[in-house]
């Protein structure tokens, strides 16, 4: 990690002329799809957006988004990853790039494309060739030691979301420990505690995304 204190290794200069590409990754069951659906619900009337989903069970995530986010069918594309969710977002991003470009081709004025990864483990991270910024989603029920374990998602994602805080008392997770351990490895990069179920408007995360899109378009 050394003395690097920048936002992360993703490029400083925004690329104009296309939508901001935002990756949402994290372990199985942490709430990636619920967060994606929540962001679509909250942002769809103010931003022109589309979603690429990499869920291993084919169209299940896409169907979930259609039901829960009221996003039109043609704004959601599902990519299959051949049993390797991390390969599709990191080592060989061609199918995801094809999907993103297809959506940009369909809707020329897109402002935000969310790429939701398939559920993976702590070692997953998005390629800089695929997304401009990435959110990593953990949940408290995996145990409060997870942030301490680190991994590229925990340490260098642009936003770390620790979800399902409503479950913390039930699973004996200490949010203070998770906060302290995350801060230690993230060198100032932001962490948001959330409960998508209790607060479906996800205000802090939505604000963060709004800021990203604004920065991408104007700087």
């Amino acid at each position: 990690m050394g003395g690097y204190h920048g936002p992360d290794q993703h490029h400083a200069a925004p690329k104009h002329g296309r939508a901001l590409r935002l990756g949402i990754g994290g372990p199985v069951g942490s709430g990636k799809t619920a967060l994606t659906a929540a962001l679509c619900r909250v942002l769809k009337d103010e931003l022109r957006l589309a979603v690429v989903t990499n869920d291993i069970y084919t169209t299940e995530d896409a169907d979930f988004l259609r039901r829960n986010a009221v996003l039109a069918d043609d704004r959601i594309l599902a990519v299959r990853t051949g049993c390797c969710p991390h390969t599709a977002i990191r080592d060989d991003i061609s199918a995801n790039l094809d999907a993103v470009e297809e959506l940009e081709h369909r809707f020329e004025d897109l402002e935000l494309v969310i790429v939701e990864s398939g559920g993976d483990n702590l070692t997953a991270t998005f390629s800089q060739g695929l997304v401009d910024r990435q959110i990593f989603v953990l949940d408290v029920s995996g145990g409060d030691k997870v942030p301490r374990k680190g991994g590229p998602g925990v340490t260098s994602s642009d936003l770390l979301v620790i979800n399902k805080t409503d479950l913390a008392p039930m699973v004996g997770a200490d949010l203070g420990v998770m906060d302290r351990d995350s801060a230690k490895v993230r060198e100032g990069r932001p962490v948001v505690f959330s409960s998508v179920r209790e607060e479906p408007e996800v205000p802090k995360i939505a604000d963060w995304v709004r800021g990203l899109v604004h920065e991408f378009q104007h700087h």
Binding site: T81, C83, C84, D98
Partner: protein, 219 residues
Amino acid sequence: MNAHLLMLSDSRLPAGGHAHSGGLEPAVTAGAVKTVPDLAGFLAGRLWTTGLVTAAIAAAACHHAPGGSGWELLDAEADARTPSPAQRTASRAQGRALLRAARRTWPDPLLDGLGRLPHQPVVLGAVTRLVGGSVLDAAGIAAYQSVGGPASAAVRLLGLDPLGVQRALADLAGDIDDVAREAAACAAGDWSALPCVSAPALDLWAEEHLRADLRLFES
């Protein structure tokens, strides 16, 4: 074999292949492949049908590449030898991904004439020529990929012993070389005389695969 050809033939080249099983996943769903011996039979059948046709198209593309135009006819010959629309889509998706990878890795005006969605063996043949390979190299890489991809998919999908699968591939090595030689021998001839053997079960499974509730691979 020069180092460029080793890169081109390496499954780590990010060209989308990892998400395609070459019909192995629907064959598994149908109960036709459960063990390494089953897989060996599947691979031999695929090699001498789809593999031979694909290798011949790659060899023809390699021979034709210096001309740099007139790809439409070879594209149509590939279509005519691929009765399943699902397989055509899969071939073009992988062709597009390989073209994307080749443009960044070995940029050359020769690649511009291939179109937006070329068949995979057409791109493979052209790139083989571009990096100094022969028609036999193009046919050999195509023939090997026609079994190497499904073999890797079987390891991931069925949890087959990877060393057992490598042994099955090694047992096929002589056949792969024979297919490559037969395909290369057609490279300079009339395209209408290219091999046109078919594998009806693979065609049908490819179509059924699109209707499956659960699919981990694109094809």
